[in-house]
């Protein structure tokens, strides 16, 4: 007991001890409420079975019918391009609504000035494809056709086959 961390900390610093106890309690609450937490990004850590067995969804952007390759970039950049595309595609598929919109609608205790900053502005967000192209290194100036494609891959035979693909967004984009 006397060698335990909390006991020694309590002997050394009351403030430190109280801070750690508050942290543990706060952490336990958000953890059991399954809230995302900055110190422990709760995403089930692959413990929950995927919804669709042997199928997966992914997205890609085509510029003038040519797919934009992202997987050859260094890990972090590839990850950014992949995840932001996935989330933007879902955002557009769901009529420019995010989970946070629903959460804020159900929890209106936050002042409007603050809650407005917790979600992207709709008029601004639709400019995201332009940012993506620039970030992915596309600098060919002029008018281009951009398509966001949803792919559904089937692994039932042990190898990936594209079971379905659909264009979820098409727009003309002007790279300056």
């Amino acid at each position: 007991m006397k060698r335990s961390f909390l006991y020694r900390l309590g002997r050394y610093s009351k403030a430190g001890f109280v801070a750690v106890i508050i942290f543990i309690i706060a952490y336990a609450i958000v953890f059991f409420k399954k809230m995302d937490m900055v110190l422990f990004p709760y995403n089930a850590m692959f413990s929950v079975q995927p919804a669709a067995a042997w199928h997966t969804d992914t997205y890609a952007i085509k510029l003038d019918d040519s797919i934009i390759h992202i997987t050859a970039f260094p890990y972090w950049k590839k990850d950014f391009l992949e995840m932001s595309l996935r989330n933007y595609a879902l955002y557009r598929q769901q009529g420019q609504v995010l989970y946070m919109h629903q959460y804020l609608a159900a929890n209106s205790w936050l002042p409007k000035e603050i809650s407005n900053k917790l979600v992207p502005q709709k008029k601004e967000a639709i400019k995201w494809p332009g940012w993506y192209l620039h970030y992915a290194g596309y600098k060919s100036r002029g008018e281009h056709r951009l398509d966001i494609i949803h792919y559904r891959l089937n692994f039932e035979q042990g190898k990936p086959t594209i079971e379905d693909s659909s264009v979820i967004l098409t727009q003309q984009i002007n790279i300056r």
Binding site: F5, R8, L9, Y12, S13, G16, V20, M35, D36, M37, V38, L39, F40, N43, A44, M45, F46, S47, Q49, P50, A53, H55, D57, T58, A60, I67, H69, I70, T71, F73, P74, Y75, W76, K77, K78, D79, F80, M83, S84, N87, Y88, Y91, Y99, M100, I114, K117, L118, V119, P120, Q121, E124, A125, W128, W131, H134, Y135, Y151, L153, G158, P160
Partner: protein
């Protein structure tokens, strides 16, 4: 309790900072940082009080909207890390750096990187926020316990959610990990391993058991520090396998894991 041996402690602390410095260089060099996100109009944050705090105040949005500000902050992170490596006792530098890296973490996750193993980039600085030797020692212990808890909870979640009931569980998760590679036709060594594990669920199941054993073995660290070095090696192997099999890199978390080496090095000096 014997006093800390300062020279050894500072040398070991410098090593941790050096790893963090290299990680930050890799992240920024790969094209991910405040400046490279300039002009990105789309973000999505979760139900996360810390993200609310920063996004509610408009801090990430302001940084992203100004290229010069993003460049300045990214450069500041690198310069302050160099300074802290030279002067590890300068807690004022550590406080500024901690705030900057915390902002970077919130910004990256808000603008949609994976939320997996990056929180270590600012958590590892917690001990450096303290000036007094003893306070710093307690902070090292505290973040060590948090690190152990981080992995144990991951293992417990798998038990809690009955992940082992279905032998195909891990194989099914693996189908999504390299999906963009398959769409682009960018195939290689890692996609071959990925496909092999999808085609052989029993082998993938065995790997998942191994990973969970590593995660749960961190419990040992709550009772003794004798095995810290081996726990750190186990975690590094776990992350290397994660990178290879699941395309989830631990860059941003390595310095945090390496505090287990630090504790081992200082064990006989600290007490």
């Amino acid at each position: 309790m014997r006093p800390l041996n300062n020279s050894i402690t500072l040398t070991a602390q410098r090593r941790i900072l050096l790893i963090l410095f290299l990680e930050c260089c890799i992240i920024l060099y790969s094209g991910v940082g405040f400046a490279s996100l300039y002009g990105n109009p789309f973000f999505s944050i979760g139900v996360d009080p810390f993200s609310w705090l920063l996004f509610g105040a408009g801090i990430p949005q302001t940084i992203i909207a100004h290229h010069w500000l993003g460049s300045l902050l990214s450069l500041s992170i690198i310069l302050l890390l160099i300074l802290l490596i030279i002067f590890p006792r300068q807690y004022i530098i550590a406080i500024i750096l901690f705030i900057l890296l915390f902002c970077l973490y919130i910004t990256l996750t808000g603008y949609l990187t994976h939320r997996n193993f990056q929180s270590g980039m600012f958590l590892v600085l917690v001990p450096f926020l303290f000036d007094k030797n003893n306070s710093r020692k307690f902070a090292w212990e505290a973040i060590r316990y948090f690190l152990l808890f981080f992995y144990i909870s991951s293992g417990l979640l798998k038990l809690w959610n009955h992940s082992f009931d279905d032998i195909t569980h891990f194989s099914q998760h693996l189908t999504s990990q390299f999906a963009p590679y398959y769409v682009e036709g960018n195939l290689g060594f890692r996609t071959s391993i990925n496909l092999y594990l999808i085609q052989h669920p029993a082998v993938a199941y065995g790997l998942m058991i191994g990973a969970t054993v590593i995660e749960l073995s961190m419990l040992v660290g709550f009772f003794t520090r004798r095995w810290d070095k081996w726990l750190a090696i186990a975690l590094l192997v776990f992350h290397l396998a994660n990178w290879c099999v699941m395309d989830i890199a631990p860059i941003g978390h390595l310095a945090f894991i390496c505090i287990l080496f630090l504790q081992y090095e200082n064990r006989r000096w600290a007490y």
